[in-house]
Amino acid sequence: MIVWNRACRSARLSTRPPNPRRCLSQRTLDRLAEPVQSYISTSRDPYLNLSIEHFLLQKSAPHSAILLLYVNRPSIIIGRNQNPWLEVNLALLNPSGHGQPETEPPGLGAVDLVRRRSGGGTVFHDEGNVNWTVICPSKDFTRDKHAEMIVRALRSCSVDRARVNERHDIVLDQGERGADIDSRETHRTPYMMAEADGIRPLKVSGSAYKLTRQRALHHGTCLLSSPNLNIIPDYLHSPAKPYMTARGVESVSSPVGNILLDNETFIVAVQKHFTKLYGTTEDAIKVGDEWREHDPVRKGEDELKAGDTHSKFI
């Protein structure tokens, strides 16, 4: 990071204008050293968003805490070590590529398939789903810490059915309201039902992690108002699954539901609770397509597009 600073400074001092393709603004790079940072992406491109996320993980100061929020266009994100043949109905991804007219549902057009760098299962992203990422020092990291933060944010928006479950996911309990529970208790709600009794809770957010020596990245989805709930099962169900055994982590599938909140409300609540947890920060910094001009981000994006960091499929 220091190297980039110097390159930018000297470029500016010389008579030639700085090469815009080489680096981000000095201010942006300085901010990577701040103890608390909050970012929001204006891009809907999953490759770019994941690449920005990875760049923040690699380049941010070791003791800093970072929040990044982004929304992707319809895409399927599979985990680091998953087998797409088992997890995804690949035939649905590029309907026009097969020369068939788009008369069959789901009619979403081309859906990207991206392999992220953290572990975990396969998820479907669209504009009704907001993704949140927290990067913090690894010695402070626990798997529940940020899931609890999101639950607190949801509860502040009157979503009191939300809680963190044993797998560190966020679910909405479906039962009738029972005895009151302290609202600060993030692992239980008044609506909990025993497993045997009936309806399973609806999963609204799944998490995945990437742990390096100094930094821990925890990111998750949040289904707010996806119009595609009924077709997600079609995409995430592979017709080949009963006929194959393969290595790789399997997804644990759960019934999903919308929280029915709009994106803006959720984003503001998460930013507020992040600030409460880690300290004050300026307004969230917008990131977007202009970050593509920064070499590491572009390289990361190319890696993701190339079908991945260790080719497993096609």
């Binding site: 985990g79 680091r80 070590n81 760098r117 953290s118 572990g119 975990g120 299962g121 798997r143 560190h168 998490s207 995945a208 992690y209 990437k210 742990l211 390096t212 020596r213 290595r247 982590v249 960091t309 260790h310």
Partner: protein, 481 residues
């Protein structure tokens, strides 16, 4: 004199850590190795996969960032592993050179077990020493003794087979027998900080531990041995009428592990069993006469050398039973007719089942075979078998009769295609040619063969030929070269 020398060495050692700048004239590895207080065997250490938390016991190895021979610095990335939702990068706590990777990409790596072997070329703190094999104080005594052997094996040789581990196991036992040169003098100065930390963790008094290092120094292996000796005694004194019976998980010993791996591969072989009973009367009479004339106990013959020679003579006529099958390419199985008869002899050794090999049985006389068998079993009993003693077997003979048994169904080891199990001979009533009741000494021979290569008739003919040779030893004389 030696005490002051070691104190001087220690003083220099600590000085070098505190004040020596990185770019002195002495090459780093040379200076640290000479002043390093642990013994030479400990230089290459297995680095254990640390506990990732969440009760996770194993995770999948996704990719390596280093290869054997690569030089790493502290905090360089070694590999990436994944467990359910978390993708974790493992970094090296030391400077050093990677010697061996314990897993391939996509293998499941087990927490607490070695991940890589590193030739450490930096000072290691006590905290870091715990990440290495043989020093994890949180494991039970059984785990410690296995990890201790891993240290020996890692430092001793590069081979992965169980044989060097069997040989290496002999070394701590032999070290036990050496008297420490300076037994109890000034114990306080004769252990490195890493060892003393371990002693504190395991709650052992340093004066109780015999040091086998240079100048009576206490090494990590000494501490582990002391602990495992201590736990053995209370176990043997446990009253048999104990009210509480608990399950005990135990990791597989190196010998067990090798047996597990070999026999798992043997699951692919379709075995069939052919048994026949040989009348050992003639052989027994012959043996008694020869043994009476023997000048020393070592010259006494059992029936096993006779059986080995009979099998070798029969295999001259049935070379298919002595062949080797290579199934690495399942579409193209490769059959090799072996020129020599190398018989693996199953031995029940103190450490478990071992199968050393008598080579070139076709060229040995029965007396020479007997000498070889005796040598092998002595070596096995004393854990002195070398890797060359285990290699090249074309056929195996398992004399389970030394324990007991009649009909047995022995398991073939790849790449052999047959195996013979010899039961215990016993006196049975039988009819002779005049249809009169007589006593017969019967020995059951159980042949297992790989039905992909050997058919029942071929195996049966070979078995009957062996039986005929044993029942009339004179025939063996006629066929011998």
């Amino acid at each position: 004199m030696s005490v002051s020398k070691s104190a001087l060495v220690r003083a220099l050692h600590y000085t070098s850590v505190a004040t020596r700048p990185r770019n002195t004239c002495l090459p780093r590895s040379l200076s640290y190795r000479q002043l390093h207080a642990t013994s030479r065997l400990d230089v290459v250490k297995p680095f254990l996969l640390a506990d990732i938390g969440e009760g996770i016991t194993e995770c999948q190895l996704i990719q390596w960032f280093v290869q054997p021979g690569a030089r790493v610095e502290q905090f360089d990335k070694l590999c990436e592993v994944q467990s359910d939702k978390a993708s974790v990068e493992i970094t090296s706590p030391f400077d050093g050179v990677i010697k061996k990777l314990h897993y391939e990409p996509d293998d499941m790596a087990i927490t607490g077990k070695p991940l890589v072997d590193i030739d450490i070329q930096s000072e290691i703190s006590d905290e870091d020493a715990e990440k290495l094999g043989g020093t994890n104080g949180k494991q039970g005594p059984a785990d410690e003794s296995v990890a201790g052997y891993a240290v020996q094996a890692g430092g001793g040789s590069e081979e992965i087979a169980a044989e060097p581990e069997t040989a290496a196991r002999g070394t701590p036992e032999q070290a036990q027998q050496h008297r420490p040169r300076h037994s109890r003098e000034d114990k306080g100065s004769l252990a490195t900080p890493a060892v003393r930390h371990l002693i504190k963790e395991l709650d052992v008094s340093i004066t109780d531990v015999q040091g086998t290092g240079r100048d009576g120094r206490v090494l990590k292996e000494d501490v582990h041995r002391h602990v495992s000796q201590q736990t053995q005694e209370p176990v043997s004194r446990e009253p048999t009428g104990a009210a509480v019976r608990e399950d005990r998980k135990a990791p597989l010993t190196p010998v067990q592990m090798q047996m597990f791996k070999t026999m798992t591969r043997s699951l692919n072989i379709p075995h069939f069993l052919y048994t026949c009973a040989a009348d050992m009367g003639a052989i027994t009479t012959l043996r008694k006469k020869l043994n009476a004339a023997a000048t020393s106990p070592e010259q006494k013959l059992t029936h096993l050398p006779f059986i080995l020679k009979a099998v070798s003579l029969a295999l001259q006529h049935h070379p298919l039973v002595n062949s080797s099958l290579d199934t690495r390419d399942p579409k193209k199985p490769a059959l090799t007719y072996r020129g020599t008869h190398n018989f693996g002899i199953a031995i029940d050794a103190p450490s478990g089942l071992l199968v050393p090999v008598v080579h070139n049985v076709q060229d040995l006389s029965i007396a020479e075979i007997a000498v070889q068998l005796r040598q092998l079993s002595d070596k096995a009993r004393n854990n002195k078998l070398a890797p060359s003693d285990f290699s090249g077997a074309t056929f195996t003979i398992s004399n389970i009769g030394s324990v007991g048994g009649g009909v047995v169904a022995p398991v073939i080891t790849e790449p052999q295609v047959a195996i013979l199990g010899v039961g215990r001979s016993k006196l049975v009533p039988a009819f002779d040619e005049n249809e009169e009741l007589v006593k017969k000494e019967e020995l059951v021979l159980s042949w297992s063969a790989d039905h992909r290569i050997v058919d029942g008739a071929e195996c049966g003919r070979c078995a009957e030929r062996v039986r005929a040779l044993l029942e009339e030893p004179g025939r063996m004389m006629v066929e011998m070269r």
